[in-house]
Amino acid sequence: MKTLSEKILSTRSGADVRSGDIIAVPVDLVFAHDGTLPLAIQQLGGHSVKHPERVAAICDHASPSPSEKVSNVQTLMRRFARENGIDFYENGDGICHQIVLEKYAAPYKIIIGGDSHTCTHGALGAFATGMGSTDVAAILAYGNTWLKVPETIRVELSGGLCDKVHSKDVFLELLSRITADGATYKALEFSGDGIEEMTVESRATMANMAIEAGAKVGMFATDEKAKAYLEHYGRGSEFAPLSADDDATYIREVRIEAETVVPMIAKPHKVDNVVPVTDLEGKELDQVCIGSCTNGRIEDLRVAARILKGSRSKVRLIVYPASRNVLLKAVREGIVETLLRAGAAVCPPGCGFCIGRTVALGDGEVSLSTQNRNFKGRMGNDKSFIYLASPSTAAASAITGTITDPRNLSD
């Protein structure tokens, strides 16, 4: 009678657990980046790292380093990684969540990241959640952590999505229904034939955004698609079948008909401030951003390139591929050329525009981005405005220079 979370946590804790139980579990992977690892290193103090082979350190948030202060912080990380024999990912390797998805995430793994979007890895059947730097330090020192087994909200997507409508739109639709604290302390579990139809990358977009509803994790069952994804990255042996029991108990069920989902957009300055794109068509933009751990994968760049091919962006167009692998694929597929010819600034893999440290907006500027958060000041300026949407909406909007429903552009 178990949900996905109860199954994983029961297996890993060695006990038959139910939602509400507080348990200690081993951590298979703990990772942090240039925004969170330095503080964790400070909190670790004189303790040694118990399982260095289960740790990863990534420079992604301010990458390439834009200042001496950041470089000094990254030096601290580099030295720590070297002294402890920890995997270290350099400026330009990519965003932590994409690296973890490619190289570490797998079914049944317990993954803790010093970043709230760690929930991304539920797309591959991992129990993955974000924590702060002190929790990360405690895991580095002791190798395990404590968790409360969450109750689960089931989100069922039935049917097929329309052309130019993506998993990002599905999640924004969900958020408009349950709001920013609708899933606080809960697991979101996605199921239905609409989910089975989705690629792993599309699932990752939804898992990534689970935290924007306050959720602890964003879970997906594993299937042939998850297996193929792992095999593609040379990790096929890490596949394991994972599904919820038919009689699992959910505290809430949300049903979404895929055919009714339209391109959606989150208005400043809250992620659940969601309306259909058609409500805002024609709003002038200063910048369009394509990338981030939400929508910076090869599938997203393909979608954007298909729309942008042969056109020229009317506004500043910034593209940050999510990882070195993504950028390599994009180069080989001619996508980088398409984007460059469309006027894009194609940037080194990293968080870039999303966190406002290597890219910032000017006073009063309006940006449309494929990222996951539009809080005031998020993109480096409190006097700017951020709209969140899918890669199709972003690409279409770049061509017109205004918020544009991608279904309205002729192919």
Partner: protein, 170 residues
């Protein structure tokens, strides 16, 4: 455990960690006292200075306080401002965990943001689960914090607690 202090602000729903401390600072500065000067900068200026003038400033908020990014710098800068306790209708889960991990007391109390105003003097009794508003002569109840979490506060943090116990015990 008791705290006596003055309400420095009553904040609205969904106050997020980007508002508490902007991402543009957190990669530059590991000195939390320096970082604390930028607390709530995108909303107002001078929060740090105002807090430092009070003996034990208490922050009050509505629902989902501390949502958004997991940055631990958020509760850290609030503590560096001198905030003695945060009372909210509800907290985002990562922020809640982080607060206890660094020894910053957090209390969930239904209706608190409509009961108190800036400047009210409060006495908080953790064991009894009671907040006394000395200015308004009112009392509000909250669910007492589990003993091990009170110990996190007393030990001033998770690392200190784990050192004392030799790790997590089941």
């Amino acid at each position: 455990m008791k705290i006596t202090g003055e309400v420095v602000r009553v904040l609205p729903d969904d106050t997020n960690t980007d508002e508490i401390i902007s991402g543009k600072y957190k990669y530059d500065e590991l000195d939390l006292n320096k970082l604390a000067r930028h607390t709530f900068e995108s909303i107002e200026s001078g929060f740090f200075d105002e807090c430092r003038k009070l003996q034990a400033p208490i922050l009050v908020a509505a629902a989902n306080f501390g949502c958004g990014s997991s940055r631990e710098q958020a509760p850290q800068v609030l503590r560096a401002c001198g905030i003695s306790c945060i009372i909210a209708e509800s907290f985002a889960r990562i922020f809640y965990r982080n607060g206890f991990n660094i020894g910053l007391p957090l209390i969930e109390c239904e209706g608190i943001s409509s009961h108190v105003s800036q400047g009210n003097r409060l006495i908080i009794d953790f064991n009894a689960g009671l907040i006394r508003n000395m200015t308004r002569q009112e009392e509000y109840r909250f669910k007492p914090i589990p003993t091990f979490m009170q110990e996190l506060l007393q030990k001033a943090g998770l690392m200190q607690y784990l050192e004392a116990h030799g790790g997590y015990t089941d």
